[in-house]
């Protein structure tokens, strides 16, 4: 606000707008979607509660704004996920690296469904292997292998980023790479518009 007032007083116009991208954020309940998005917006994660339904957050980055549609991860809500894929330009998938074997298997099934879904299969994926700060967290290599990313997601653009809410730098690094992917795709589409 102070910056805008300064610009107002110095008779400069509004700052040039950043590109916006619409992305969808999914993952099992408790994987950390709300916590990560809230922290990226520099808000307090003190009173976070389970997300019911979906919620929309505009997350600012240096050269882009991501309009993130975060979908709740509870069993009874996951069946609605595909209704909200329309119009997405990218996908963020959050998983709990330290979850039980059963939950990890469920996460794998959900990720595979998303990767193969007709509305998402051409989009870039940012896969956040969250909860890396927990002792039971599986490593980057283990996750890559378990989720069969290399064979399954061949030909698709994806980024696998290990992270935790304790290390937001790693999170931002993953997002910056993701934004570069989104920008690349945007550039690719420009000639076809003419």
């Amino acid at each position: 606000m102070d910056y805008l007032c300064f610009r107002a007083f110095c008779c400069k116009g509004p700052p040039s707008p950043r590109t916006e991208y619409d992305v969808v954020c999914v993952g099992l309940t408790g994987s950390g979607k709300s916590s990560l998005l809230t922290q990226l917006c520099s808000e307090s994660t003190d009173s976070i509660i389970p997300t019911t339904g979906f919620s929309i957050k505009a997350v600012p980055f240096q050269n882009a704004i991501l309009n993130v549609k975060e979908l709740g991860g509870a069993d009874n809500i996951r069946k609605y996920w595909s209704r909200y894929y329309q119009g997405s330009q990218g996908v963020i998938f959050v998983l709990d690296s330290a979850s039980s074997e059963d939950d990890l298997e469920t996460a794998r099934n959900e990720l595979h469904s998303a990767l193969q879904h007709p509305q998402l299969c051409t989009l870039p994926f940012l896969i956040l292997a969250n909860h890396q700060d927990k002792p039971a967290a599986r490593s980057l290599q283990e996750i890559k292998k378990y989720f069969e990313l290399e064979p399954l997601a061949r030909g698709q653009r994806w980024i696998l980023q290990p992270c935790s809410v304790e290390n937001m730098d790693a999170v931002r690094e993953g997002f910056n790479q993701f934004i570069s992917l989104l920008e690349e795709i945007d550039q690719e589409h420009i000639p076809s518009r003419i």
């Binding site: 606000m1 805008l4 007032c5 610009r7 107002a8 116009g13 509004p14 700052p15 040039s16 707008p17 950043r18 916006e20 309940t29 408790g30 917006c41 808000e43 994660t45 003190d46 009173s47 976070i48 509660i49 389970p50 997300t51 019911t52 339904g53 979906f54 919620s55 929309i56 957050k57 505009a58 600012p60 704004i65 509870a74 069993d75 009874n76 809500i77 609605y80 209704r83 909200y84």
Partner: protein
Amino acid sequence: MQLKGLMDVECRRGKDSPRALPFPAQSCHILNMIGLIWHYLYSSLLRSWMKWILRKVTGRCELQRICTNTVQGTERTMKIEYSLESSKNEVLKTAVTVSEANVANRVHDIMEIKKISIQKDPKFKLNLQTCLLQISGFKKLFADVENLRKQPFDSSNKQHEDMLKKLWNLLMPHVQLESRITKQWGDIGFQGDDPKTDFRGMGMLGLHNLVFFGDHYTETARQTLSHSNHPKIGYSFAIVGINLTEMAYSMMKSGLLKTHFYNLVPGVPQLQHFHQVYCYLMYEFDQFWFKEAPSSIMEFNLYREQFHERMKQLLQDPKTVLKLNFK
């Protein structure tokens, strides 16, 4: 006088929209700045001069004038609170956080400082005492609510585990829990097979709220649970409950709930009063949800926000008391 409302409402941008602002919104920021400068001038200079003049003319200080011109309730208590907090005198300023045991002494001290004669204004002492009990009582209650919220659910704590079992027995009296970790928890609206993962930022406050509802208004709680199991537009009872705990908590934190507490309790508010606000929200939200008939649970946040806005509007009316419309 609180300089609120018009300018804030017009210029409020949700924190979710950091787009570059168009030019009219920039002039809105300038207006906001002018408003702040005026507010500063008023509160530091003009207010003192006006108070001095009024004291000379009416023979009574601001606290006395407030008590005379208002009835017992939110309007009076809020004005007294603002007057004390804006005071340059430390004894008055810190009166808003004085403990219950020290309220009488503090009232006595204030009357001495302001040279208020008990003969000329016999009701003043009791009126100010009531207001102070309400004001400092609300702050103390919020501190207690916050402590409960910060307590995470702990499976190794027998009291916590007993409360969880009690919640099941209250809501599902004819069904036995097969084990502590079971999909049955979904029948009362928890997300997974272990409720402890659902409380999150609301901690034990969420569980205390749910148990109070089930314990004190058992019929209504069970009816609300059965509504929540509607095949098409059902919702998760416990999860929505935790959501409403967050709503009640944030309304208390922002001070919005003062309207209700100051009107309802002519003294120190207790934790049960907070629980009753929660029960009100549970019942009213259930009514609201089915009246609005959303297409599915996916629209929850939209309707939650509309409900929240209604609550905010209600609580901005100084005469509001949230009444439980059920037994």
